[in-house]
């Protein structure tokens, strides 16, 4: 894009990894403290959105390629479904918490709650990739708008 500020560009490069790590923390400790897969995933994607806003679309696509984001989106959804199906196969009930029955772990420790932790991770992966893709789709629509005014209806409604 046009004239991008040096300060914004540099600071965002330092801040984005911190946001990313915080997102991972919110996902991993979702079953112990407030948080979980959905907010954690949004925080993860906001790190990429910060990179996209401050350092341009090319840089963002360099950190998270478009194809990889699409795959991560599908992988997250399928992983969550896989957890549900594993419960059906092992214990006969869809979405039964089979990991908690195999190894309950200690309450209040990281390994507790069975498949809640992997489920949070799957949801977080899914939400992060999804929001990145939505952001990318909207900013790409903006580019094609400069020549033709077709996409305007979609964007003004949002």
């Amino acid at each position: 894009m046009k004239n991008r500020s040096l300060i914004v560009s540099k600071i965002s490069r330092w801040v984005a990894p911190v946001i990313f790590v915080f997102g991972i923390y919110v996902i991993m400790y979702g079953h112990l403290s407030p948080g979980g897969g959905f907010p954690g995933g949004v925080i993860l994607s906001s790190a990429f959105i910060l990179v996209m806003l401050a350092r341009g679309r090319d840089e963002a696509l360099h950190t998270l390629p478009f194809g990889l984001a699409k795959e991560l989106d599908a992988v997250g959804a399928l992983l969550f479904l896989l957890l549900a199906w594993t419960g059906l196969v092992l214990s006969g009930v869809f979405f039964v918490n089979f990991l908690h029955r195999i190894s309950p772990g200690e309450p209040m420790r990281l390994w507790s709650g069975g498949f809640i932790l992997p489920g949070n991770m799957a949801i977080g992966l899914k939400v992060a990739a999804s929001l990145f893709l939505v952001m990318f789709a909207l900013s790409a629509l903006r580019i094609s708008n400069n020549e033709e005014n077709e996409g305007e209806d979609n964007s003004t409604e949002g």
Partner: protein, 188 residues
């Protein structure tokens, strides 16, 4: 605390009215964001930190998305005034909704007491009392979201998946154009 809640509620209503009233699109988007931040603070005051975190994070990202999608496209003002017929329709909807809300709020338990106290065998009581043994998660919200009602979460994930599918399909309307972004940026 109730006075604070009332204050936040009035603030949210004012922000919503401003969002509808203003012609400047940027102010409208920011006013909608203020409504969301007010809701987040209200959730925090009511003792729902999970909801507050989700609300504030989604609000920040949505604000950025909306600004990017409206101001970035070059749409700056909204135009057009309400015709008499549309105004009458809107008033009818508001009256209908208000009467519905008043009737349904009458049926609710008093402020601060939980719904499940009124029903003896409500499953939510089991969730709270035996949640730690059954699911092993210290955060009861998560044990409900991903264990007891994981099926609902699967539906939620499906909704997001479909939404992204729709957004990407809209983008693909321009076909290969989205791929030669770099060339166009160099031209600018």
């Amino acid at each position: 605390m109730e006075y604070l809640l009332v204050f936040i509620l009035i603030f949210m209503i004012m922000a919503a009215v401003i969002a509808l009233w203003t012609d400047e699109l940027l102010s409208a988007v920011i006013a909608v964001g203020a409504v969301g931040f007010g809701a987040s603070t209200a959730f925090l005051l009511l003792g729902a930190p999970d909801l507050a975190i989700t609300q504030i994070v989604v609000e920040v990202v949505t604000l950025v998305l909306l600004i990017k999608a409206t101001i970035g496209v070059g749409v700056r003002t909204t135009s057009g005034s309400l015709s008499a017929r549309r105004a009458a329709q809107a008033a009818a909807v508001v009256v209908l909704l208000l009467s519905y809300i008043i009737v349904s709020f009458r049926a609710m338990p008093p402020f601060g007491s939980s719904v499940m106290e009124r029903i003896a065998d409500a499953p939510s009581i089991t969730y709270l009392e035996e949640g730690l043994d059954l699911a092993g998660s210290a955060n009861h919200v998560m044990s409900v979201l991903l264990d007891f009602r994981a099926y609902d979460t699967l539906g939620e994930a499906t909704i997001i998946f479909t939404a992204v599918l729709g957004a990407l399909l809209l983008m693909r309307k321009k076909g290969g154009k989205s791929l030669d972004i770099e060339q166009k940026e160099e031209k600018e």
